[in-house]
Amino acid sequence: MSVVALLEPQVLDPQLELAELTEAARGDGGIVTFVGLARRESRGGEAVDAVVLDHHPALTRQSIEDIAVACAERFDVSHVRVVHRCGTVPAGEPIVFAGAASIHRRPAFEAVDYLMDRLKTEAVFWKREVGDGGSTWVEPTEADYAERDRWG
Protein backbone atom coordinates (compact mmCIF):
# COMPACT_ATOMS: atom_id res chain seq x y z
CA MET A 1 0.00 0.00 0.00
CA SER A 2 1.28 3.46 -0.81
CA VAL A 3 -0.26 6.91 -0.76
CA VAL A 4 1.53 9.74 -2.54
CA ALA A 5 0.21 13.32 -2.39
CA LEU A 6 2.34 16.03 -3.97
CA LEU A 7 2.07 19.72 -4.69
CA GLU A 8 3.89 20.65 -7.91
CA PRO A 9 4.81 24.30 -8.46
CA GLN A 10 6.40 23.92 -11.91
CA VAL A 11 5.34 21.29 -14.44
CA LEU A 12 3.06 18.30 -14.04
CA ASP A 13 3.99 15.48 -16.42
CA PRO A 14 1.17 12.89 -16.50
CA GLN A 15 3.37 10.34 -18.30
CA LEU A 16 5.94 10.53 -15.54
CA GLU A 17 3.28 10.22 -12.85
CA LEU A 18 1.74 7.20 -14.59
CA ALA A 19 5.18 5.62 -14.85
CA GLU A 20 5.71 6.06 -11.11
CA LEU A 21 2.31 4.58 -10.32
CA THR A 22 2.86 1.68 -12.71
CA GLU A 23 6.17 0.90 -11.06
CA ALA A 24 4.48 0.82 -7.64
CA ALA A 25 1.57 -1.26 -8.92
CA ARG A 26 3.40 -4.21 -10.46
CA GLY A 27 1.52 -6.68 -8.24
CA ASP A 28 -1.89 -5.25 -9.10
CA GLY A 29 -4.46 -5.91 -11.81
CA GLY A 30 -4.98 -2.41 -13.11
CA ILE A 31 -4.55 1.32 -12.84
CA VAL A 32 -7.13 4.08 -13.33
CA THR A 33 -5.98 7.67 -13.81
CA PHE A 34 -7.58 11.04 -14.34
CA VAL A 35 -5.72 14.07 -15.70
CA GLY A 36 -7.38 17.44 -15.27
CA LEU A 37 -6.44 20.23 -17.67
CA ALA A 38 -6.69 23.96 -17.07
CA ARG A 39 -9.81 25.04 -18.94
CA ARG A 40 -9.58 27.35 -21.94
CA GLU A 41 -13.00 28.83 -21.28
CA SER A 42 -14.68 30.20 -18.16
CA ARG A 43 -18.17 29.17 -17.02
CA GLY A 44 -19.37 32.38 -18.64
CA GLY A 45 -17.81 31.43 -21.98
CA GLU A 46 -14.90 33.88 -21.88
CA ALA A 47 -11.44 32.86 -23.07
CA VAL A 48 -9.04 31.91 -20.27
CA ASP A 49 -5.28 32.26 -20.73
CA ALA A 50 -4.24 30.69 -17.42
CA VAL A 51 -5.50 29.44 -14.09
CA VAL A 52 -3.68 30.74 -11.01
CA LEU A 53 -3.78 28.59 -7.88
CA ASP A 54 -2.92 30.44 -4.68
CA HIS A 55 -2.01 27.96 -1.94
CA HIS A 56 -1.19 27.77 1.75
CA PRO A 57 2.37 26.68 2.63
CA ALA A 58 1.21 23.85 4.92
CA LEU A 59 -2.55 23.33 4.67
CA THR A 60 -2.77 22.82 0.90
CA ARG A 61 -0.54 19.77 0.68
CA GLN A 62 -2.04 18.47 3.91
CA SER A 63 -5.56 18.72 2.46
CA ILE A 64 -4.49 16.72 -0.61
CA GLU A 65 -2.85 14.10 1.55
CA ASP A 66 -5.92 13.83 3.82
CA ILE A 67 -8.12 13.18 0.79
CA ALA A 68 -5.67 10.62 -0.65
CA VAL A 69 -5.41 8.78 2.68
CA ALA A 70 -9.20 8.74 3.13
CA CYS A 71 -9.47 7.31 -0.39
CA ALA A 72 -6.95 4.56 0.34
CA GLU A 73 -8.84 3.62 3.51
CA ARG A 74 -12.26 3.66 1.86
CA PHE A 75 -11.62 1.62 -1.28
CA ASP A 76 -9.92 -1.69 -1.89
CA VAL A 77 -6.94 -0.13 -3.66
CA SER A 78 -3.23 -0.78 -3.31
CA HIS A 79 -1.80 2.56 -4.37
CA VAL A 80 -3.11 6.11 -4.57
CA ARG A 81 -1.20 8.92 -6.25
CA VAL A 82 -2.32 12.54 -6.42
CA VAL A 83 -0.20 15.34 -7.84
CA HIS A 84 -1.66 18.84 -7.99
CA ARG A 85 -0.22 21.97 -9.57
CA CYS A 86 -0.03 25.26 -7.76
CA GLY A 87 0.93 28.66 -9.16
CA THR A 88 0.17 29.67 -12.75
CA VAL A 89 -1.06 26.94 -15.07
CA PRO A 90 -1.44 27.96 -18.75
CA ALA A 91 -4.77 26.94 -20.31
CA GLY A 92 -4.69 23.43 -21.70
CA GLU A 93 -1.89 22.21 -19.44
CA PRO A 94 -2.26 19.51 -16.77
CA ILE A 95 -3.45 20.82 -13.43
CA VAL A 96 -4.06 17.56 -11.55
CA PHE A 97 -3.15 13.88 -11.80
CA ALA A 98 -5.18 11.41 -9.75
CA GLY A 99 -4.50 7.69 -9.97
CA ALA A 100 -5.26 4.48 -8.13
CA ALA A 101 -4.18 0.88 -8.58
CA SER A 102 -6.01 -2.22 -7.43
CA ILE A 103 -6.28 -5.95 -7.96
CA HIS A 104 -9.66 -5.53 -9.71
CA ARG A 105 -10.77 -2.55 -11.77
CA ARG A 106 -13.94 -1.37 -9.98
CA PRO A 107 -12.34 -0.09 -6.75
CA ALA A 108 -9.76 1.87 -8.78
CA PHE A 109 -12.46 3.56 -10.90
CA GLU A 110 -14.43 4.48 -7.78
CA ALA A 111 -11.33 5.66 -5.94
CA VAL A 112 -10.36 8.13 -8.66
CA ASP A 113 -13.94 9.41 -8.95
CA TYR A 114 -13.93 9.97 -5.18
CA LEU A 115 -10.53 11.67 -5.27
CA MET A 116 -11.64 14.17 -7.87
CA ASP A 117 -14.99 14.95 -6.24
CA ARG A 118 -13.26 15.78 -2.98
CA LEU A 119 -10.32 17.61 -4.55
CA LYS A 120 -12.69 19.82 -6.56
CA THR A 121 -14.46 21.03 -3.43
CA GLU A 122 -12.09 20.63 -0.49
CA ALA A 123 -8.49 21.04 -1.61
CA VAL A 124 -7.11 24.22 -0.05
CA PHE A 125 -6.61 26.41 -3.11
CA TRP A 126 -7.82 29.86 -4.05
CA LYS A 127 -8.24 29.77 -7.79
CA ARG A 128 -8.66 32.50 -10.35
CA GLU A 129 -8.96 32.48 -14.10
CA VAL A 130 -6.95 35.05 -16.02
CA GLY A 131 -7.95 36.26 -19.48
CA ASP A 132 -8.38 39.34 -21.61
CA GLY A 133 -11.18 40.51 -19.35
CA GLY A 134 -8.94 40.45 -16.27
CA SER A 135 -8.97 38.02 -13.38
CA THR A 136 -11.96 36.16 -11.88
CA TRP A 137 -11.98 34.15 -8.64
CA VAL A 138 -13.61 30.75 -8.95
CA GLU A 139 -15.46 28.78 -6.28
CA PRO A 140 -16.99 25.30 -6.45
CA THR A 141 -20.47 25.09 -8.01
CA GLU A 142 -23.57 23.52 -6.44
CA ALA A 143 -23.03 20.64 -8.87
CA ASP A 144 -19.48 20.17 -7.54
CA TYR A 145 -20.79 19.96 -3.96
CA ALA A 146 -23.57 17.56 -5.03
CA GLU A 147 -20.97 15.27 -6.67
CA ARG A 148 -18.88 15.34 -3.49
CA ASP A 149 -21.92 14.64 -1.30
CA ARG A 150 -22.67 11.42 -3.18
CA TRP A 151 -19.92 9.84 -1.10
CA GLY A 152 -21.60 10.65 2.24
Binding site: G36, L53, H56, K120, A123, F125, W126, K127, E139, P140
Partner: protein, 75 residues
Protein backbone atom coordinates in the same frame (compact mmCIF):
# COMPACT_ATOMS: atom_id res chain seq x y z
CA UNK B 1 0.96 41.80 14.51
CA UNK B 2 1.61 40.21 11.17
CA UNK B 3 -1.38 39.15 9.09
CA UNK B 4 -1.17 36.84 6.09
CA UNK B 5 -4.05 36.81 3.63
CA UNK B 6 -4.95 34.50 0.78
CA UNK B 7 -7.15 34.47 -2.32
CA UNK B 8 -9.58 37.38 -2.73
CA UNK B 9 -8.36 38.89 0.51
CA UNK B 10 -4.80 39.06 -0.81
CA UNK B 11 -6.24 40.88 -3.82
CA UNK B 12 -7.92 43.42 -1.57
CA UNK B 13 -5.24 43.98 1.09
CA UNK B 14 -2.03 42.48 -0.28
CA UNK B 15 -0.73 39.13 0.93
CA UNK B 16 0.75 40.53 4.15
CA UNK B 17 0.09 43.47 6.42
CA UNK B 18 0.68 44.63 9.97
CA UNK B 19 -2.19 45.66 12.20
CA UNK B 20 -2.77 45.95 15.94
CA UNK B 21 -5.89 44.57 17.61
CA UNK B 22 -6.97 42.93 20.84
CA UNK B 23 -8.94 40.08 19.29
CA UNK B 24 -9.53 38.25 16.02
CA UNK B 25 -12.95 39.89 15.82
CA UNK B 26 -11.42 43.34 16.18
CA UNK B 27 -9.01 42.67 13.32
CA UNK B 28 -11.79 41.28 11.15
CA UNK B 29 -13.92 44.38 11.84
CA UNK B 30 -11.03 46.73 11.14
CA UNK B 31 -10.29 45.07 7.80
CA UNK B 32 -13.97 45.18 6.80
CA UNK B 33 -14.08 48.84 7.73
CA UNK B 34 -10.96 49.60 5.66
CA UNK B 35 -12.32 47.76 2.62
CA UNK B 36 -16.12 47.30 2.72
CA UNK B 37 -16.01 45.46 -0.59
CA UNK B 38 -14.23 42.59 1.17
CA UNK B 39 -16.63 42.45 4.14
CA UNK B 40 -18.56 39.46 2.81
CA UNK B 41 -15.44 37.38 2.14
CA UNK B 42 -13.98 38.42 5.50
CA UNK B 43 -17.14 37.25 7.27
CA UNK B 44 -16.83 33.85 5.57
CA UNK B 45 -13.10 33.45 6.21
CA UNK B 46 -11.49 31.19 8.76
CA UNK B 47 -8.73 32.60 10.92
CA UNK B 48 -5.66 30.70 12.02
CA UNK B 49 -3.41 31.75 14.88
CA UNK B 50 -0.35 29.56 15.24
CA UNK B 51 -1.64 26.23 13.90
CA UNK B 52 -5.20 26.48 15.25
CA UNK B 53 -8.44 27.76 13.77
CA UNK B 54 -9.79 30.33 16.22
CA UNK B 55 -12.99 32.29 16.70
CA UNK B 56 -13.55 36.03 16.83
CA UNK B 57 -13.31 36.11 20.62
CA UNK B 58 -9.74 34.78 20.53
CA UNK B 59 -7.50 37.29 22.35
CA UNK B 60 -4.32 38.35 20.58
CA UNK B 61 -0.87 39.42 21.75
CA UNK B 62 1.60 41.46 19.71
CA UNK B 63 3.74 38.42 18.85
CA UNK B 64 0.83 36.53 17.25
CA UNK B 65 0.68 35.85 13.53
CA UNK B 66 -2.72 35.58 11.93
CA UNK B 67 -3.82 33.99 8.69
CA UNK B 68 -7.15 34.81 7.01
CA UNK B 69 -8.36 31.95 4.81
CA UNK B 70 -11.32 32.70 2.51
CA UNK B 71 -13.60 29.81 1.46
CA UNK B 72 -11.49 27.48 -0.68
CA UNK B 73 -11.94 27.11 -4.43
CA UNK B 74 -10.99 23.43 -4.48
CA UNK B 75 -8.61 22.08 -7.09
Amino acid sequence: MRIRLYGRLADAFGSELDLAGGSVGAIRKRLASDYPGAADVLARSRVIVGAAIVGDDHALVEADSLEFLPPVSGG
